[in-house]
Amino acid sequence: MNKKERLVAAIENGTVIDHIPSNKTYQVANLLGLQNLDTIVTIGYNYPSKKLNKKGIIKIENKFFTDEEISRLSVVAPNVVLSIIRDYEVIEKKRVETPDILKGLVKCNNPKCITNNEPMQTVFHTINKDKGVIRCQYCDKEQDINKVELV
């Protein structure tokens, strides 16, 4: 185990989310609904990071996320890495992939869009995964995934 991992106590079983941009740590926690879990959750941020300068780490004991749940993170933290831990060992590393369709995740930037004027779910289609371009199903406005607000 490298030094960075030891900054937070190791867990026996569960998920470690690393390389979270520090200021997005709580958004990641929110998107995964961690506040509703009754298992042990450790949230840390402002750890030094070579890549990000400062990063957040979240450790969740006895919890494994579905691919759908993980894909929600693509909006705020597309480069995070999730390590699946069993018996103190990393058995799998997962990366976030932008889903083809984002439902109820982000707001449309167009104030005249129906989604901002009616109690309804937003739907976006991913147009370009590399550039992070998404398009609103309703008003068709293309937007930058890094510049949209979460619902």
Binding site: K112, C113, I114, N117, E118, Y138, C139, D140, K141
Partner: protein, 315 residues
């Protein structure tokens, strides 16, 4: 069968566009029928648009349907805070098809997802106005005998004009060459130029508008340059008279060239053009009737065969 809607022009295939144009031709031959006898068409105009509403209501009436609806959201429960969804579901209880106009973008798409009856988009804000686009296509087809390989000149406000944007998308199937004639401040937005590039549509941009520029045009599609679109009023004053079509500019025009305009016109086409054989904008509006007859029948599941074998024609 899945419920049919008519919400956007961008999603229509070449076959579907040709099919609807053929159907409009049938209705032009015999516009008065009883094929929609017993049907109720609701026209919900959350935003006033007299011209579009009259056209849809005429189409419904000429085919024997009855029409219910409102002409202004002020008289509806929307002002009491009712959601669009509730209004649409309520009217779905009464009508067989809903024609709706709304100032909010994407309203028709959303309505089509919640409504059990077909939705026809009669304009949703700055977003789409697909029935206008179909009547434009029908007018082009009628005057040129084809939609293929045409030189189409779009003139005026190309930045905000949704009809010109829809026309580009609909024409992508037909190998057009577009000429964008506009002041710099109202030039065709980059996203539509990118759309052209992605779909292999040829285009040329001009800021000049004169006899020579338009001499190769098959279609001259005029739009209104509106003062309120300019952030710089000096610029408006400078260009306001540049994009006005006058009869004197038609000397070098091709014989087949026709002038279209979505109307209402203010001053962008001088009145001396009206009597010129190239003028087509008034007939164009009439084509809207046939196009809308086709749209209403299509979403109600009436096929072109049904229309051709129709025994309810009123001669």
């Amino acid at each position: 069968m899945d419920k049919q809607n008519f919400v956007t022009i961008a999603g229509l295939s070449k076959e579907k566009i040709n099919y609807l144009i053929e159907m409009a031709q049938e209705f032009e031959k015999y516009p008065n029928r009883d094929i929609l006898n017993g049907k109720i068409v609701a026209t919900l105009f959350f935003e006033p648009s007299t011209r579009t509403r009259l056209s849809f209501e005429t189409a419904a009436n000429r085919l024997g349907a009855r029409v219910i609806g409102f002409t202004d959201a002020k008289v509806t429960s929307a002002t009491k805070g009712e959601t669009l969804k509730d209004t649409i579901l309520m009217v779905s209880n009464y009508a067989d098809v809903i024609v709706m106009r709304h100032h909010i973008e994407g309203a028709a798409q959303y309505a089509s997802e919640v409504a059990p009856v077909p939705i026809i988009n009669a304009g949703d804000g700055a977003h789409q106005h697909p029935s206008q686009c179909l009547l434009d296509l029908y007018s082009i087809y009628k005057t040129q005998g084809t939609l293929e390989n045409l030189n189409i000149y779009l003139v005026g406000d190309l930045k905000y004009g949704r009809t010109v944007h829809s026309l580009i998308m609909a024409m992508r199937h037909f190998n057009p060459t577009f000429h964008f004639v506009a002041p710099t401040e109202l030039a065709m937005p980059d996203e539509y130029k990118m759309y052209c590039e992605e779909h292999g549509i040829k285009y040329v941009e001009h800021t000049d508008f004169n006899e020579d520029v338009i001499s190769d045009a098959d279609i001259l599609y005029m739009t209104r340059v509106q003062k309120e679109r300019f952030s710089d009023l000096m610029e408006y004053e400078r260009v306001k008279n540049v994009y006005i079509l006058k009869a004197s500019m038609l000397g070098k025009a091709r014989k087949n060239m026709k002038i279209l305009h979505p109307l209402p016109r203010v001053n962008e086409i001088a009145y001396d053009v009206d009597s010129d054989p190239h003028a087509y904008y008034i007939q164009q509006a009439r084509n809207g009737l046939y196009a809308r007859e086709a749209i209403i029948c299509d979403v109600l599941g009436i096929t072109i065969d049904d229309v051709r074998k129709d025994k309810t024609i009123i001669k």
